[in-house]
C-alpha cells in the first residue's frame, strides 16, 4: 500500500521541518523517501497543516480505576451518548468514555499513540483487556511500582541491582512500558490511613523515605535502560504550598543525570505547583517552578491543564482523593491494592467562579508558557483529572492565542484574575512549538523512536488539519484553530486513512507496546518471586502474569539491561 500526501505545510520538529511545503510518502505503514506517483493513492493536502500523529504521554483511559469511574457516573454518560454506525461501536462519552469511544475520539483529533499512565500490577490483565478494546491507537501502560513492597524492601536493603531485577520482572510480567511512581511512600502509608508529607518522611513499617524511593528508582531506570524515564506524581499533590515539595523532589534528582538526558518526568505539573499556606491563600507557584526548570534540564513535564467542566478525578493517590472527598463530600471511591498501590475517585466540577479552580487553570497555562523550552513541557489534562481529553483543542487555542486565554481569564473569579500571571505573558506558541508539545516532545521523552516525527522509517502516523498557516493568523483566530484540531482533516495510522474531515472512515485495532527487559539472573528472580509469592499476594504466581493472549496486537520492545 502506497500513499502520497501532496503539498501540505509540514511541521516535523524532530527533523527540524517548520512549515515547509512538501510531500509525505508512505509505503507499508512507514514513511519513505518517495513512492511511485502513478501507483500510489494520492491525497491533495495543499493549504493544510501536516504533523506527525498526536502522542499523549499521560491519559487515564483503561483499567480498574477508570472502569470504576465509569460505573460510578451514569449521570456523566447520559449527557454524551454515541450511536453505533456501520463501522463503529456505540458507547458513551464525556469524562470517562467507554473504550471504543475513547479510541474514536482520540483518532478524530489526529492522535495515534497514547500512554495509560496508571496500572495496578494485580489488575494488569484488566488494563490490557480494555486496551484491546480501544481501537485506532497504539498504546502502552505504566505499572504502579513506587510503593510496591519489593521495591521498598530492596531499596531499604540498599540492593539496587536486586531492585532493578525485580522491576524488570514486573515490567515483563505486566507487559508495562515505564516505571510509574505516585506519591512515593504515601500509598503504602495510606494502607493504614496515613500519608507522608515531605520527601524525607519515613514510610511507616518500611524505614524508607520518598527521596530514597525516587532516587533509587531513577537509578534502577537507568540500570535497566528503559526508553522513558521514571514517571512521577509528586508527594503532597493538590495541596497548597506543595511547590516546595516539588522543588525538593527536582533537586533530589539533580545529580542523577550524567549524560545530559532527563531522568524523570513529573506529570501533571500544575497539580504540584500550588503556593500559599492553605486554601484561602492558595496561589500559583508557576514562577518559582518555571524558574527552576528553565535553569535545569534533567526532567520533562506535562501540564495537567484544568478545564472548566464537570469531570472525574482518579488517581492511585488514595490519600489525595480522600482529601478531595473531605473537601467536597462527594461520592468517593477508594481502591487499595495489596502489596502494590492504592487508588481513589471523586467526581469534580471545576468552576470559573471558584478561586482555587480558576487559579489552577491559570497556573497550568503559566507553566506551559513560562517554561521556555517546549521539549520540556507537554500538553495534557491528565485526562480525566483536569478535564476530558476532548478539551485539547481548547488548550491549543489558549496556548497559541493570548486573545483566547485572556478572554476566558476575564470570566474567572476576581481573586484568580488578580493573582494570575497570564496578563504579563505575551508568548504564543507557534505551530512548530505546538507540534513539539503535542507529539514530538512527548515521543522523545517516551523514547518512541519511530513516533512523533515524519523522518524516513518512522511509523506512518500522520495527522492533517484544516488550517492554512499562510492565510490564517492562529493567534487571532482561536475559533478556527479549535475547530481544526477538534476534527482532523485526515488521521493516518500505519499508512491507513482512519479519519476524514472528523469522520471515522476505517477502524483498526492499534497495537500495545511493552518492554521485554532482559536481565542477568532472570531465573533467580523468578524463583525468588515464586517462593515468596503467597506471602505477598492472594493469587497464585502462575495466575499473576499478563500472558501473551491478553494482548490483542502485541508489540514487544526488547531491552537489554545493564544488570
Amino acid at each position: 500500500m502506497e500513499l502520497l500526501l501532496k503539498n501540505g505545510f509540514v511541521f516535523d520538529p524532530i527533523n527540524e521541518i517548520n512549515g515547509e511545503r512538501m510531500d509525505i510518502a508512505i509505503r507499508n505503514g512507514k514513511i519513505v523517501e518517495s513512492v511511485s506517483e502513478s501507483k500510489a493513492k494520492k491525497i491533495d493536502v495543499t493549504g493544510l497543516t501536516v504533523m506527525p500523529g498526536g502522542v499523549d504521554i499521560h491519559t487515564h483511559i483503561a483499567g480498574g480505576e477508570v472502569n470504576t469511574g465509569r460505573l460510578l457516573r451514569p449521570e456523566d454518560h447520559v449527557k454524551d451518548v454515541v450511536r453505533k454506525t456501520a463501522i463503529t461501536r456505540s458507547g458513551v462519552g464525556y469524562s470517562i468514555p467507554s473504550t471504543f469511544t475513547t479510541g474514536y475520539r482520540y483518532s478524530r483529533m489526529g492522535y495515534t499513540t497514547v500512554m495509560n499512565p496508571s496500572m495496578a500490577p494485580l489488575g494488569a490483565k484488566h488494563t490490557h483487556e480494555e486496551l484491546n478494546d480501544i481501537p485506532m491507537l497504539d498504546k502502552a501502560t505504566f505499572p504502579l511500582i513506587g510503593d510496591w513492597w519489593f521495591v521498598l524492601e530492596n531499596l531499604r536493603k540498599g540492593d539496587l541491582e536486586g531492585c532493578a531485577r525485580h522491576v524488570a520482572w514486573m515490567m515483563n510480567t505486566t507487559k508495562g512500558y515505564a516505571i510509574k511512581i505516585v506519591n512515593p511512600g504515601g500509598l503504602e502509608s495510606w494502607g493504614f490511613g496515613r500519608n507522608v508529607h515531605s520527601i524525607d518522611d519515613q514510610v511507616p513499617n518500611f524505614g524508607i523515605t520518598p527521596r530514597e524511593i525516587v532516587q533509587g528508582l531513577a537509578k534502577v531506570n537507568k540500570m535497566l535502560n528503559l526508553p522513558h524515564t521514571i514517571h512521577l506524581h509528586t508527594n503532597n499533590l493538590g495541596l497548597p504550598g506543595n511547590y516546595a515539595t516539588t522543588l525538593d523532589t527536582m533537586k533530589a534528582l539533580e545529580n542523577m543525570s550524567t549524560d545530559g538526558k532527563p531522568v524523570c518526568h513529573i506529570t501533571h505539573l500544575q497539580f504540584s505547583s500550588f503556593g500559599g499556606e492553605d486554601w484561602g491563600t492558595m496561589k500559583s507557584a508557576a514562577e518559582e517552578i518555571s524558574n527552576y526548570i528553565n535553569n535545569h534540564s534533567h526532567m520533562t513535564f506535562d501540564m495537567g491543564q484544568v478545564i472548566f467542566t464537570d469531570t472525574t478525578t482518579m488517581t492511585a493517590d488514595g490519600p489525595f482523593e480522600f482529601t478531595l472527598y473531605q473537601l467536597s463530600g462527594h461520592k468517593w471511591v477508594n481502591s487499595d491494592v495489596e502489596t502494590e498501590t492504592s487508588g481513589g475517585i471523586i467526581p469534580f466540577h471545576y468552576k470559573k467562579k471558584n478561586a482555587v479552580n480558576a487559579i489552577q487553570w491559570s497556573t497550568a497555562l503559566e507553566l506551559a508558557l513560562l517554561i521556555k523550552d517546549p521539549w520540556k513541557m507537554f500538553m495534557t489534562t491528565d485526562h480525566p483529572n483536569g478535564g476530558p481529553f476532548m478539551s485539547y483543542p481548547k488548550i491549543i487555542a489558549w496556548l497559541t492565542s493570548r486573545k483566547a486565554r485572556m478572554a476566558l481569564l476575564k470570566k474567572c473569579h476576581k481573586k484568580a484574575q488578580k493573582k494570575s500571571l497570564l496578563p504579563t505573558i505575551k508568548r504564543e506558541l507557534s505551530l512548530y512549538e505546538l507540534a513539539i508539545v503535542t507529539r514530538a516532545g512527548q515521543a522523545k521523552s517516551l523514547g518512541l523512536t519511530s513516533k512523533g516525527h515524519l523522518g524516513l522509517g518512522a511509523d506512518a502516523d500522520v495527522s492533517v488539519y484544516n488550517l492554512n498557516p499562510e492565510t490564517t493568523d492562529i493567534a487571532q483566530n482561536p475559533k478556527i484553530v479549535r475547530r481544526a484540531f477538534a476534527d482532523a482533516a485526515y488521521t493516518i495510522k500505519d499508512g491507513n486513512v482512519l479519519v476524514q474531515n472528523g469522520k471515522i472512515v476505517q477502524t483498526v485495532s492499534g497495537k500495545t507496546m511493552w518492554l521485554d527487559v532482559n536481565t542477568t539472573e532472570q531465573l533467580e528472580v523468578d524463583d525468588d518471586m515464586k517462593s515468596r509469592f503467597k506471602e505477598y499476594w492472594t493469587v497464585e504466581y502462575d495466575n499473576y502474569p499478563v500472558y501473551d493472549h491478553y494482548v490483542k496486537v502485541s508489540d514487544p520492545i526488547i531491552i537489554k539491561a545493564d544488570v
Binding site: 483503561a62 460510578l72 458507547g91 458513551v92 467507554s98 494502607g191 480522600f322 471511591v333 495466575n543
Partner: protein
C-alpha cells in the same frame, strides 16, 4: 497391566463462587478429574460431578412442541433468525460464563438493539445503585488479609456461601501486619489432638458439612474473643459464621437500616435515647462501635441479607456512608460478597464497553441505563420483549412467575452446559462447554482482581463454548441483516 496416566494441574481457578480461589490442584486421569485438592465442598462437587447423564450433547429445537436434536448450524441459524427479527429482545444471565463470552454478548446486544442484563439485577443490583449514589471505599482482598483487625460480615454467611473466604482472605489467615489468632488456636488443637484428627476436623469444617463447633467440641475458641483480629457478624439468625464471631449482632428482619443508622450516630458520638434498636440493645451496639472505631483497619462485607432486605439500595447507601464516616477516625473499607464466580466480570466488561454495569438497553442504537425500567424483570413484567436469549443462568427458577410466563410466550434461546428449568421451556437450547474446566477464559474476583480460568479437560466431542456459540450467532445475524438490506434495495 495398564498404566493409568495421571497428571496434576496446579493453580486452577475455581469457577463456583466470587472468592475465585485460584490455588486448586486437580488430578486428571484419563481425561477426567479424579481428585480435587484445596477446594471446598462446592468446588469439589463442581469438578467431580460435572459429568452426568443429564448432559445434553447436541443443540435442541422445539418442533411441534417436542425438543428435537439438531446440528449447531441449524440451531445457530434459527437463533439468529429469532434475534434478527425481534424488535426488543432481551439477553440475560452472563454471571457464570467468562469475560470472553460477555464481550461478544455486548456486541450481539448492540447489533440487535436488545437489552443486556445480568443476574446482578436479582442479587447485588442494589449494591451497584448504592455505589452510584455514594461511591465505595474498598480494597482488594489481600489488603484485608494483610491489615484488617476488624472484620464484619453483614447479612451474609461466608461459612456456607463462600466457604474459603475466611480462610483465604480474612479472619483465619495470616498477613504481613496481622496474625491470625485462629491459626494459633488451630495449632494448639493440632498439638493436643494429633495431626490426623485435626486434618479431618479442618476438612470437615471448611467444607461446612458440620457445624463449626465440631472443631473444638465445646465453645468457639477463646482466643478469638481476646487479642488480634475481631470478627463481627450481623444477621437475622445465628449463622455458622455467627457462631464463631467475637460479636454476633442479631437484627430483627428488615431492621438493618435502623441499626446502620444507630451505628452511624454512635460513630459520630451522638447519643441514642432508646435502649434497643432493631432488636439489639444499644449497650451492645456501643461495644461493637468501640471496636469499629478503635481498629487499625476494618472491613464490612455485605451480602444479600442486606441488599434484599427492606430498604434495598438505601441499606447499601447507608452502609457505605457509615464506612465513609469511619474513615474520618480510622481506615475502613467495604465490599459486596458477590455470589456467582464471574458476576463481577459481567459488570466489568459491560461497563468498559458501554459505560453501564447491567440493565443496558441498546434499542435506540446507543446504551441506555435505567434499572427498574431497563432491567429484564421489569421488561418481562411489562410484556415488552419479543424474544429472549438466556445464557449461564436459570431465571425460570428465580424470576417472578408473571415474568417467566411472558418469557415463555416469546421465542426463547438458552445456552448452558446443563439442562435447567429454563432450558426445559426453551425453543432453541444449546449445550455448551463448562468454562474453567473445559474452556479457558477470564473471570473477575469479587474484589475485581482478574484471574485466568483454565481448560483442564477436553469437552465432550463437538461441543462448542459460550463464546463460540455467541460469535457464530452474531455472524449469522449480520448475514441475515445484510441479506435483508439487499432485498430491500
Amino acid at each position: 497391566m495398564t498404566v493409568v496416566k495421571s497428571e496434576v494441574v496446579k493453580s486452577v481457578t475455581c469457577p463456583v463462587c466470587g472468592c475465585l480461589c485460584d490455588d486448586i490442584e486437580l488430578t486428571i486421569e484419563e481425561g477426567k478429574v479424579t481428585e480435587v485438592r484445596n477446594g471446598c465442598a462446592m468446588c469439589e462437587s463442581k469438578f467431580l460431578n460435572y459429568i452426568s447423564e443429564h448432559r445434553v450433547k447436541t443443540p435442541l429445537i422445539r418442533k411441534d412442541g417436542k425438543m428435537v436434536p439438531v446440528s449447531y448450524k441449524e440451531a445457530i441459524h434459527k437463533s439468529a433468525e429469532i434475534l434478527a427479527n425481534a424488535n426488543y429482545p432481551i439477553l440475560y444471565g452472563w454471571s457464570s460464563t467468562d469475560c470472553e463470552a460477555q464481550r461478544v454478548g455486548v456486541e450481539l446486544a448492540e447489533e440487535i438493539g436488545g437489552v443486556l442484563d445480568n443476574t446482578a439485577v436479582v442479587c447485588h443490583g442494589p449494591s451497584i445503585l448504592g455505589v452510584q449514589e455514594a461511591g465505595i471505599p474498598t480494597s482488594t482482598l489481600g489488603q484485608i488479609r494483610h491489615r484488617a483487625d476488624v472484620i464484619v460480615y453483614w447479612g451474609c454467611d461466608p461459612w456456607s456461601a463462600h466457604p474459603r473466604h475466611l480462610e483465604r482472605y480474612t479472619a483465619f489467615t495470616d498477613g504481613r501486619f496481622e496474625d491470625s489468632e485462629w491459626m494459633s488456636y488451630i495449632n494448639k488443637v493440632k498439638a493436643s489432638v494429633g495431626k490426623k484428627k485435626f486434618a479431618a476436623v479442618k476438612k470437615r469444617s471448611l467444607k461446612c458439612e458440620t457445624e463449626p463447633e465440631a472443631i473444638s467440641d465445646n465453645k468457639p475458641p477463646e482466643t478469638l474473643n481476646k487479642e488480634g483480629r475481631k470478627l463481627i457478624v450481623v444477621d437475622v439468625r445465628e449463622s455458622m459464621t455467627g457462631k464463631v464471631a467475637d460479636y454476633f449482632v442479631q437484627v430483627k428482619p428488615n431492621k438493618d437500616f435502623e441499626i446502620l443508622q444507630a451505628i452511624r450516630a454512635l460513630v459520630k458520638d451522638e447519643d441514642l435515647d432508646v435502649e434497643e434498636v432493631g432488636g439489639v440493645p444499644v449497650e451492645y451496639l456501643k461495644e461493637v462501635v468501640d471496636t469499629l472505631i478503635n481498629c487499625q483497619f476494618g472491613v464490612i462485607f455485605f451480602g444479600m441479607g442486606l441488599t434484599q432486605s427492606a430498604g434495598k439500595f438505601r441499606n447499601i447507601e447507608i452502609a457505605i456512608s457509615l464506612v465513609r464516616d469511619l474513615n474520618a477516625r480510622t481506615k475502613f473499607v467495604i465490599m459486596p460478597m458477590r455470589g456467582h464466580f464471574n458476576v463481577t466480570g459481567a459488570n466489568t466488561v459491560f461497563t468498559w464497553q458501554s459505560g453501564y454495569p447491567y440493565a443496558i438497553d441498546f434499542s435506540l442504537g446507543y446504551p441506555q441505563y435505567n434499572p427498574g425500567e431497563t432491567s429484564v424483570v421489569d421488561i418481562l413484567l411489562r410484556k415488552e420483549s419479543d424474544a429472549s436469549l438466556i445464557i449461564a443462568s436459570d431465571p425460570a427458577s428465580n424470576f417472578p412467575k408473571k415474568a417467566i410466563e411472558h418469557m415463555t410466550k416469546t421465542p426463547l434461546i438458552v445456552i448452558d452446559p446443563h439442562m435447567n428449568v429454563t432450558s426445559m421451556v426453551g425453543d432453541v437450547v444449546f449445550p455448551s462447554t463448562i468454562v474453567g474446566l473445559e474452556k479457558a477464559g477470564t473471570a473477575y474476583r469479587m474484589d475485581h482482581v482478574p484471574l485466568p480460568l483454565k481448560k483442564v479437560v477436553e469437552p465432550p466431542e463437538g461441543l462448542l463454548s459460550d463464546e463460540e456459540i455467541l460469535t457464530r450467532i452474531l455472524e449469522e445475524v449480520r448475514v441475515i441483516k445484510s441479506q435483508r438490506m439487499k432485498g430491500a434495495n
